[in-house]
């Protein structure tokens, strides 16, 4: 990496515990020409930051934003009776679950439920993948590698890039326009991500993640697990396994409904 590239990323508040940056600064201090360039960069950074921070948003914007709190509260009130009853049933279900766990705890601890032990690694891997992809959507600004609204173009691009692609999709997904795709690595495995415009519209996205089933995983078992709808990071997730590949769907926000998308 070019030393100027490293110095370009210098941040006055974030460099103290950064050996890479400290090394680059040491190099700059030995080289007068580089030091002059670096000093100019810092001056420019300060001037640009000051200029950008001096710009204020329209005065009425904060007032408009704070009104959303009330609007959202109203919306929540409209659905609260449903949630109240759901919570009551949820509490009953939790009590039953706790009672069951206590009744069978010895059996569970000894892994004597048929198939439990054999499937444990699959569950963990499956959950890791599903949770990791939900977290990915929750925390990442996704920058796509290729943009296209055509499924065939996406397939072609993934194939040419030597990335995991898809053959056929469930009808619910085939009906959605694509936005684009990207590929990345997760735990040393190649992952393909295809983004679809959701039926809910208004910028909402359905993310489809594809990963190969590993030899240590039980594909048939995973398939039954994927089919269940799980809410992670406030988003619905669902998936399936076919032809040696895991497919996981994650909505871009809580309003993306995946309930019927695989039917």
């Amino acid at each position: 990496m070019n030393i100027k590239e490293t110095l370009s990323a210098f941040h006055p508040e974030n460099h103290e515990d950064d050996p890479l940056m400290n090394l680059a600064i040491e190099e700059a201090e030995k080289d007068p020409e580089l030091l002059r360039w670096f000093t100019e960069q810092l001056e420019m950074d300060n001037a640009i930051r000051e200029t950008l921070h001096a710009q204020k948003p329209p005065e009425e914007l904060l007032g408009k934003l704070l009104q959303y709190q009330d609007a959202a509260e109203e919306k929540r009130k409209l659905i609260s009776p449903f949630f109240r009853s759901t919570l009551q049933w949820g509490a009953i279900a939790a009590c039953l679950l706790i009672t069951t766990v206590f009744a069978f705890k010895d059996t569970i601890i000894n892994n004597q439920i048929l198939g439990y032990h054999a499937s444990l690694s699959s569950i963990e891997k499956h959950d890791d993948f599903r949770i990791a992809m939900a977290e990915f959507v929750d925390t990442t600004i996704i920058s796509l590698d290729f943009l296209s609204e055509g499924h065939n173009e996406i397939r072609q691009w993934l194939k040419e890039a030597n990335q995991l692609s898809f053959a056929t999709l469930p009808d619910g997904l085939e009906a959605l326009d694509t936005l684009g795709c990207k590929s990345f690595k997760w735990q040393d495995q190649s992952i393909s991500l295809i983004c679809f415009h959701s039926n809910e519209g208004n910028g909402r996205i359905v993310h489809l993640f594809i990963k190969e089933v590993q030899p240590t995983e039980d594909a048939e078992f995973l398939d039954t697990q994927y089919a269940s709808l799980q809410t992670l990071y406030g988003r619905q997730t669902k998936g399936w396994v076919t032809n040696g590949k895991h497919y996981i769907l994650v909505g871009s926000d809580p309003d993306v409904d995946l309930t019927d998308i695989l039917v």
């Binding site: 990496m1 070019n2 100027k4 590239e5 490293t6 370009s8 990323a9 941040h11 508040e13 974030n14 100019e40 960069q41 001056e43 420019m44 950074d45 001037a47 640009i48 930051r49 000051e50 200029t51 950008l52 921070h53 001096a54 710009q55 204020k56 948003p57 329209p58 914007l61 904060l62 408009k64 934003l65 704070l66 959303y68 709190q69 609007a71 959202a72 509260e73 919306k75 990915f136 929750d138 925390t139 990442t140 600004i141 996704i142 920058s143 796509l144 943009l147 936005l179 684009g180 990345f184 415009h197 910028g203 996205i205 990071y233 406030g234 871009s252 926000d253 809580p254 309003d255």
Partner: protein, 169 residues
């Protein structure tokens, strides 16, 4: 649970600035900011930690931006013309600071991958490691984009900067 009003007051200015530099006009920046906080109001019960809220806000705004923007214009990126002699920002503004409009114009001319990185770096003061995490990019790529973006901005803005520092110092 997060406090909506506190979170809005803490982030709305920087989020608006981020939106403004992404889309390049006040009306769209306001819409993006409002959309983002509307979604926050609806989903605030799912966000438990302050540090999660910050990346959630930026991610939500950026997703909305790419969806709107790419659907409409399919990204007609403007080539950054380093030899563009039709505008000399150093003469446009007599003050000893960088002119906001000139700076905005220069940022807008950057390709989107450079624009996002430089905006997060300057406006939100994200470190290169945080930017890499948010954009899911290798650290080297973020550094390289920062370098390329800054080099382009520097070339365009140097005359006004030199004026500023000679006079001020």
């Amino acid at each position: 649970m997060l406090n909506f009003e506190k979170t809005a007051k803490a982030y709305y200015q920087k989020l608006y600035a981020f939106a403004y530099h992404l889309c390049g006009n006040q009306a769209d920046a306001e819409d993006l900011t409002q959309h983002t906080f509307y979604r926050l109001a609806l989903n605030i019960h799912t966000l438990k930690k302050e540090e999660k809220a910050r990346s959630w806000l930026y991610s939500t705004l950026y997703r909305k931006f790419i969806d709107q923007h790419r659907r409409i214009v399919k990204f007609p990126t403007v080539e950054f013309d380093e030899n563009d002699s039709t505008r000399d920002y150093s003469e446009e503004q007599p003050e000893y600071t960088i002119d906001y409009a000139a700076l905005t114009d220069c940022i807008r001319q950057l390709d989107e991958p450079l624009r996002v990185v430089i905006t997060l770096f300057y406006i939100e003061n994200y470190s290169y490691k945080e930017i890499a995490r948010m954009l899911d990019l290798p650290i080297g790529t973020v550094m390289s984009r920062l370098y390329r973006a800054k080099t382009k901005l520097h070339k365009k803005l140097t005359p006004s900067l030199k004026t500023a520092y000679v006079v001020q110092n």
